[in-house]
Homo-oligomer: 716 residues x 2
């Protein structure tokens, strides 16, 4: 890539960013857009806007940037929970790493690279003085003593990153503990999920559970809730809710519009008839629903699982950690998630079916990750110029314009790839949900991991090791050749990834600020429907999409740090943008839905360790290639030390993210006051884990105002 | 190999076996050999022999075989513990497997192989009708439909083995639980070991432990014993004991012998002087010892570890399974071993030193296993004929005799290999003891695993994949080629391994019966010393040597089952011999020292699963080689199903071997009567885990009669 090309790309993307930011600064102040740009404030009833028009509403103002940049961690913790804090810490961690890396890279490595003359010596035919390659390590003379600068830089960065990683792990785990210690009593702290309850003939699951826990945990056992098979009920409720919505819609609409509609199609009955018809249908459905509900709870579509609550957190923890039964496949215990975090559809599946679907999901994920690019390349091949002209002949004239055809051939394949990539987080989330996690937050966490490895494989390795998917995979069957192959392939893609940081990093993050997709959706909805404020809910933050993206830029930065330090300033800009934007979005847009209390951090740690190891592997290859075998051998202790460091961290910190300690539980238990509040909490605890579909139907997800059964609403 | 050669080998080894058995049947009845052939009975005071001479003592009698063969599992369980039962079950398990395999192999596969004519068609130059190869799968025509017989046999055997494995795992784990339920209260059931106790300045380890457990386990905590750094003391005690022995020896010896001795050297003093000198030295040593003992316990060479006892088994289990502290590297808990099973020297090492030695041991084991044959081959090369003639010129005439030189060249390398191999179990046990296990039984278990993989690598793979060690290892870097390489190499070694079963299996096991080495040692001892009955102790069974050997024959049988079914009858004979011999040895020779309560079984299970997978890999290769690709592909589900079966067993049974369940603990706790016996037990529990070197010195390992302090003995 040429410097001029890079500058063009930077210019275009900088322009786009400025455009997005300006538009955002304007649009966010329009009350009509509050549901896009401040849904959280709106749902909390805190949106500040008044309907009155003022001139400043049309002028972009940068106040939000200052507010976002200055928002403190305590504020974030209290408003969005520990997960949001962890996410922001990924960004500040990256900022720290790449500040040091940037200083070393730009002021030491870049001059060293630039002053080398390897590339001029070799004198490639196509080398101009404009080439970006003169800023990379390729330009340093083979066997040159100057390569020791790179060698030292690798050591310094590794030590610095490990030091930061250790501190961050320590900080996050202490936060996790203090978060637990400062939390109010919550149902999931007192509850475990028991699965594979053995049932002897003649007794119910409920009886078995009660007998077992009264026998073996007599002093701590409080109550239990058996899980029911409710898939059928779930479908019925969905149908009812849909019908109810149509009915409400029909009632609210002005009579004219309806008559017009029914007149237009001619086949429909008048408004009165339609409403009557719907009401009858709804009544029938409700009758069914009630029957089914009582059926489920009485006749016993019991799943062999139950949420068992205890009188103390420590009691629950003991039951969780001890193997309960002589047969380890029975009475399998698991930490219960928060009540609203339970992923209910899962419980309907039998054990065998869940086990098989786990295997299937595993295979599907591996296949999707390894072979993703094959269909994408195929579709990109279909969408070339001549195919478009065949399919859409009316475009022929337009496509014959040189500029248009260039844009189409240049951008269309990229657009297709981006569209496919956008589908990955939802797909991975879906796969995770099939896999057998009992809570939504676990699904998200698992999807986060899957998306991360998918991204690393399909963006990093697919670009670096160009060739067929099988040729790529084959590299792992010859572990000895990995450094050599990486050393050749990785530096060659330096300019591609610099451009990637600018386009995908800068612009995509600004799109996240601008919320292009929700904006379009909102506009379309406004055009076609009128009642916009029913069922309005702030979205939850898509950790499974955002964390892998940030981590991937970290990987890029670490592996290209000594190869092509030119990438670092661009990355720094990216992380600054990301900090401001995500901080702002946490304040205005996303509301926390579930809390994992920092369980995302181990994923971050592993990813950074992997980046370091990858950097070391590339360094070994590079120094061999550059005929500095001594440096190549002296790098070897580094990955080993990094692995030992990682092993230590796994031992020191990881258990804290799996479970709290006896010390913590007992401390917390002793803090609980012995008053009416606590008694009330324990009363509530007994029913906290009832399946929502077995409760009286609510037609709105808002729990407050519209929480009355339907019939009363129909009858009034 | 030719049939005649095999018959010769069988003949020689059969003769040796008969000789050993006859000799054993005679010698065991001589009272002089009781310490070799019935040390267990002797040490228990149950040896039946009288000093009077009877003629029948000189005649061999087979009564012991009947007795050994008929001894029931209950008897074995009560006399030698669950570990012995598990060991015998390995043999009965193998007998069952190879009975079915033998029937299929000899009556179906052998005729099929024999009736093939592939080898005659190819007509090797050196093929005679006498060759053993016509009994192997190599003789079946390429692409022949008859290979489906082998295919079916593989499926049948795999299913049968998995069925048996499941039943055995189930049986052993139920035995383990019932063994626990029927056991008397034992200190290790109530005790855990706590390591990495954090100590704040000004307090001792003991105070820290007490404060922590009184705070967080107030209802169940009973007492604790802090571990001290006692290496110095251990050396002192050893010195004292040695000196004491010499003194006793000196006193007992007739005066004549001593004067002769001291006269002979001229430098020694008379008997009286010598005894005085020794007594003085001993008194000094004892003084030192007492000072050191009080030093250790007072001034505090405390290790940051303690044995903590609880009032109930369940209380101990809860403390064991819960993470105790917010910092997972502190208050690390571990199940305590039986008090006499604790491996005390270990505790003197610091945490870092133990961690490093773990790494070192790991590397040492891998190197030893992978590169063992290199020095062996080198030594074997040194010990050839011409070298011997150079070193020992007086042998020249003898070595020039053709027969002698043949024996030397044929047997000497083999002998050297055997000598080296004999050193492996002790070496592995030593390495395990350095590794950081806290009990002797853990050391043995770990050594058992190491020896098993060592045997499989250095006998199986080294023979099959002949070539340099590095060439062998390289096979694992090309996983795709494993089946093809095995398919070529494994059948070629069939006759070698048949001979191996006969020589190493039959004769070595008979040597175990005959106890050649202890017999020789005993004879030598009798020749040079006179007092033979002091410090007499029955040896404990060398599980780390015996289990890998039996498992290795199982591996041979399973992998050669369909390749060369001729091996199966020989294996069956081996397992019958082993059953009779080991059963007899458990009755007469070995006394149980530690009890792991069946923890060896998971090793057995894993080894058999590995054998099955290896067989499948070879089968895939063979069917490809024999041009029956369909069979080759249809084998593929088999390893996958085997792995799934293994995964299920790991989930279903393995946890039982790690820890008992809450159910079991609570049941057992409720059974304890609330009487004086129990109170006495709890009193003893408080001191059960004191380091033996801190107790008053005992000069004999017999705890009964000679349990008085030395000075009293010196003074009387």
């Amino acid at each position: 890539m040429l410097v001029s090309a890079l500058l063009t790309s930077v210019g275009i993307n900088f322009g786009l960013c400025v455009l997005f930011w300006t538009l955002y600064s304007c649009l966010r102040k329009q009350p009509a857009n509050y549901n896009v740009y401040a849904p959280r404030l709106l749902s909390e009833g805190r949106s500040e806007g008044s309907g009155t028009f003022r001139l400043e509403r049309l002028l972009p103002s940068p106040g939000w940037v200052r507010r976002a940049w200055k928002s403190s961690e305590e504020e974030l913790l209290s408003s969005s929970g520990l997960d949001a804090v962890v996410f922001m810490r990924i960004i500040t961690f990256s900022l720290r790493v790449f500040t040091l890396a940037g200083v070393i890279g730009v002021f030491i490595l870049l001059p060293v690279n630039f002053s080398g003359d390897q590339l001029q010596d070799v004198n490639f035919a196509n080398l101009t003085s404009d080439s970006l390659d003169i800023f990379t390590i390729s330009n340093v003379k083979n066997g040159s003593k100057r390569l020791w600068a790179h060698f030292c830089a690798i050591y310094v960065l590794t030590i610095f990153v490990c030091f930061l990683l250790y501190n961050e792990y320590k900080y996050v785990s202490s936060k996790r503990i203090s978060y637990f210690l400062s939390s109010k009593p919550q149902p999931h702290q007192f509850t475990i999920l028991v699965r594979s309850v053995p049932v002897s003939a003649g007794t119910s699951v409920s009886n078995s559970v009660e007998r077992f826990f009264k026998e073996y945990h007599p002093t701590t056992y409080l109550s239990h809730v058996v899980v029911y098979r409710t898939n059928k009920l779930r479908y019925l409720i969905n149908d009812t809710k849909k019908l109810y919505k149509s009915l409400i819609h029909l009632r609210k609409e002005p009579a004219a519009a309806k008559f017009q509609c029914s007149g237009f199609f001619g086949l429909f009955k008048g408004k009165g008839d339609l409403v009557d018809h719907y009401e009858k249908k709804l009544e029938n459905l409700e009758e069914n629903l009630r029957l089914e509900q009582s059926d489920v709870s009485l006749a016993g579509e019991e799943v062999r699982a139950a949420f068992v609550s205890f009188k103390s957190r420590y009691g629950a923890a003991v039951a969780l950690h001890m193997q309960q039964s002589d047969n380890p496949t029975q009475w399998v215990t698991e930490q219960a998630p928060e009540p609203h975090d339970v992923y209910w559809p899962l419980f309907s599946e039998s054990f065998m079916r869940r086990w098989i679907s786990q295997l299937v999901v595993l295979v599907a994920c591996i296949l999707l990750t390894a072979l993703f690019l094959i269909p994408v390349v195929f579709v990109q091949g279909l969408a070339n110029l001549s195919q478009l002209e065949v399919w859409l002949p009316f475009l022929k004239n337009i496509l014959s314009i040189a500029f248009v055809s260039q844009v189409v051939t240049g951008y269309l394949p990229n657009l297709i790839l981006q569209l496919f990539l956008m589908m990955i987080p939802p797909i991975m989330k879906f796969l995770s949900s099939v896999q057998g996690h009992i809570s939504n937050s676990e699904n998200i966490k698992s999807a986060c991991n899957k998306v991360l490895w998918f991204t690393i494989w399909n963006i990093y390795f697919a670009n670096v090791l160009s060739g067929s998917a099988f040729a790529q995979i084959s590299i792992f069957f010859e572990p000895k050749n990995i450094p050599a192959r990486l050393a050749v392939a990785v530096p060659a893609q330096a300019s591609f990834f610099i451009a990637y940081v600018v386009t995908s990093g800068w612009t995509s993050t600004s799109t996240e600020l601008f919320r292009l997709l929700p904006l379009i959706c909102s506009l379309i909805r406004k055009l076609f429907t009128e009642n916009t404020d029913d069922e309005f809910k702030a979205p939850s933050f898509p950790y499974h999409g955002a964390i892998p993206r940030v981590l991937f830029f970290g990987l890029l930065g670490i592996t290209y740090f000594f190869l092509a330090p030119l990438i670092l300033p661009f990355l720094l800009v990216y992380f600054c943008l990301a900090y401001a934007i995500y901080s702002n979005q946490f304040i205005n847009v996303y509301a926390p839905k579930y809390e994992t209390a920092g369980k995302f951090w181990p994923i971050v740690h592993n990813s950074v360790i992997f980046s370091l190891l990858l950097m070391h592997a590339i360094a070994v290859g590079i120094f061999t290639l550059k005929r500095l075998p001594l440096a190549s051998s002296l790098i070897f202790p580094l990955p080993i030390l990094t692995l030992i460091f990682n092993a230590y961290c796994r031992k020191r910190f990881l258990p804290i993210f799996k479970a709290y300690s006896a010390e913590t539980f007992i401390k917390k238990d002793r803090e609980d006051p012995n008053d009416a509040m606590t008694a009330e909490f324990f009363d509530k605890l007994a029913t906290a884990y009832r399946d929502p579909v077995l409760l009286p139907v609510q037609y709105s997800s808002d729990s407050g105002s519209q929480n009355r059964p339907l019939l009363s609403l129909v009858e009034d």
